[in-house]
């Protein structure tokens, strides 16, 4: 079977990053469910795929990869001529896409991940920490607000992997984490989220996730 296998849970954020990439590029895939509720990801068989015991991981013929951002980059590059162009048409444009992907990992996710874990998944969360993280997220979103005042998408005129990589985290912010006002209060970030989440690939992913 030549179709890429994705190991993970469709409702989980990081697998969604890869699934969204597949859907935007029109890449066929198969999801092998790894049940996070029963800690299947920590079992020895899975640790062979991802040594930290986290999802997603992929298997594509002989190629095995983990880290959703690395997987997305690989498929966006391999299938550059198929589906949505996620990396830009020139090396320089790709550099700008990569720049904002780094921003997602180093500024956005570092704040959003603990926020979501605390608010959504931790029974009695650290209130002071959450407040501190919200202040930090405010500062990050202010930078985005400015960037998106002059640019339709983060890396410029076109939707790219830089925008896509934010979408699973943004979905948590808007939904379970109850922080939607941080987005809706910012005209340009709000517009950006509305445009991205209206994309057919995103709608298909939401259908698959069946929240």
């Amino acid at each position: 079977n030549m179709v890429v296998k994705l190991f993970g849970q469709i409702k989980a954020g990081n697998p969604q990053r890869v699934l969204l990439c597949f859907l935007e590029k029109g890449i066929e895939f198969e999801v092998i469910h790894v049940d996070l509720n029963t800690f299947e990801q920590k079992k020895p068989e899975y640790l062979l795929r991802q040594p930290f015991g986290q999802v997603p991981a992929i298997e594509d013929g002989d190629l095995k990869l983990f880290e959703s951002r690395a997987i997305s980059r690989y498929y966006a590059t391999k299938y550059a001529d198929q589906g949505t162009d996620l990396l830009g048409k020139t090396l320089e444009q790709r550099a700008i896409v990569e720049q904002w992907m780094e921003v997602e990992a180093n500024y956005f996710n570092v704040v959003v991940l603990p926020l979501v874990i605390n608010i959504v998944f931790t029974p009695k969360f650290d209130v002071a920490l959450v407040e501190e993280l919200k202040v930090k997220l405010d500062k990050v979103l202010d930078v985005y607000e400015n960037q998106l005042a002059m640019n339709r998408y983060l890396a410029g005129a076109e939707f790219s992997l830089a925008d896509l990589t934010h979408m699973p985290g943004m979905r948590y912010i808007m939904n379970e984490a109850g922080l939607g006002s941080m987005i809706t209060s910012r005209e340009n970030v709000n517009r950006w989220w509305n445009e991205m989440s209206a994309r057919p690939a995103w709608k298909k992913l939401m259908e698959m996730a069946a929240y």
Binding site: K139, D142, V143, N146, L148, A149, M150, N151, R152, A157, E158, E187, N188, R191, N194, E195
Partner: protein, 413 residues
């Protein structure tokens, strides 16, 4: 000979050529002594444009009128650029959207806005037809922009410059947020394009009108063609923006500050001393200031921005202060100010020092400049050595100021 553009300040049609000039890297002079209704009625002007309308561009080879034609000419100066598309079909689409925008967008905005300002006779069915036609045009534009960031190709072309300047007239005068919210892609397009650096340089800060201007009742003085243009009101006052004609000026009240008893201190002398002192600033300029300062005829004020926690991005903060100083233009005869933007990282603190004619902050400034209420104002007590020293430090851009580095210091003079 440089290129000279004759227009009144804030003419959205003139912006097209000026923005194109930023993109192609060409200098255009805009004489500041242009007087609407006067300059454009002279025989010399009518030789350039028999309609007596603005803008008109003077080139080494002769004049050009019609704002779109001027912009097209400018777009072809200075060699290759992408303003006209990169193929014949792209060029055709640039012309397509420029014509569309002129007829369907600008034409209908004018038919809505013009009668309300008294330039043309008002009729309710006429306005309704114009609004309906405008909506049809905006709908078509919105559909195109759903899957296109720019009108043609993947970057700014003359079509975007012309269209956004046309939209700007609408946004400034009759198109409120509730009207444009039916066209979300047009909104996104307008705001992201008008915030591009080459646009911002020309148009400055843009605010969407909050209300449609009321219909001028019959009999209201609307003799715009005869009246000379007053000193340009700040562009931020959207309902006052005029397309080609001018509101009849109300009888001009004398500024109460002109009626104060004369003062030995002459503001212009201080401004000259400030500007010309290149070295030994403290010994020459600051000393000179305190020597000439007249506490009876003038007053000194400290201001602090009330919302410093908003100042997270340096250039946005600097723009805010720049906008404030632009809007203070009407007070230039009566004020001198220094605005310090403090801090080595966000949030930045904005602190100001102002010298005003008279013992109080002039009422006309409080009324006309909306930024004033964004600041806390305290009168400086110069009998207090610490406050006097603070005044001196703010005039001389002392760094560090109150323990902090200065991101920037802007002077109003």
């Amino acid at each position: 000979m440089a290129l000279v553009l004759h227009t009144y300040k804030g003419n959205k049609n003139a912006d097209k050529a000026l923005i194109a000039a930023e993109y192609v890297g060409v200098k255009i002079d805009v004489p500041s002594d242009f007087a609407m209704g006067v300059t454009n009625k002279t025989p010399e002007f009518l030789k350039m444009n028999p309609m007596g309308k603005v803008p008109v561009l003077e080139t080494p080879e002769g004049p050009v009128f019609e704002s779109n034609a001027i912009a097209r000419y400018v777009s072809r100066l200075n060699g290759e650029n992408s303003l006209n598309g990169s193929s014949l079909i792209e060029y055709a689409h640039v012309e397509q959207w420029s014509d569309f925008s002129t007829l369907e967008i600008y034409g209908n905005i004018l038919k809505w806005f013009g009668p309300r300002m008294g330039f043309m006779p008002y009729s309710a069915p006429g306005e309704e037809a114009a609004i309906s036609a405008l909506k049809r045009g905006l709908d078509a534009l919105n559909t195109h922009l759903t899957s296109n960031t720019y009108l043609v190709g993947h970057s700014i072309t003359l079509a975007d410059i012309i269209t956004v300047c046309n939209l700007n007239l609408g946004f400034a005068t009759v198109m409120t947020k509730s009207f444009t919210s039916a066209f979300p892609h047009v909104e996104r397009y307008f705001w992201t394009v008008i915030n591009q650096p080459n646009f911002k340089k020309v148009v400055g800060d843009v605010k969407q009108t909050e209300a449609v201007p009321p219909i001028k009742k019959a009999g209201q003085p609307a003799k715009p063609k005869e009246e000379p243009k007053k000193k340009a009101a700040p562009a931020a006052e959207a309902p006052k923006v005029v397309e080609e004609e001018e509101e009849a000026p109300k009888p001009k009240a004398k500024n109460p500050l002109d009626l104060l008893p004369p003062s030995p201190m002459v503001l212009d002398e201080w401004k000259r001393l400030y500007s010309n002192t290149k070295s030994n600033f403290r010994e020459v300029a600051i000393k000179g200031f305190w020597d000439m300062y007249d506490p009876e005829g003038y007053s000194l004020w400290f201001c602090d921005y009330k919302y410093n926690d908003e100042n997270m991005v340096s250039f946005v903060t600097l723009n805010k202060v720049g906008g404030f100083l632009q809007r203070m233009d009407l007070a230039r005869k009566y004020a001198f100010g220094k605005m310090l933007i403090c801090g080595s990282e966000a949030p930045f603190k904005v602190k100001g020092l102002w010298l005003f004619r008279g013992p109080e902050i002039p009422k006309f400034i409080m009324d006309e400049v909306y930024d004033m209420e964004l600041y806390e104002w305290t009168k400086a007590d110069i009998s207090d050595e610490a406050q006097k020293e603070r005044v001196s430090q703010m005039i001389e851009d002392a760094e560090p100021f109150e323990g902090e580095a200065l991101l920037d210091a802007k002077c109003f003079k």
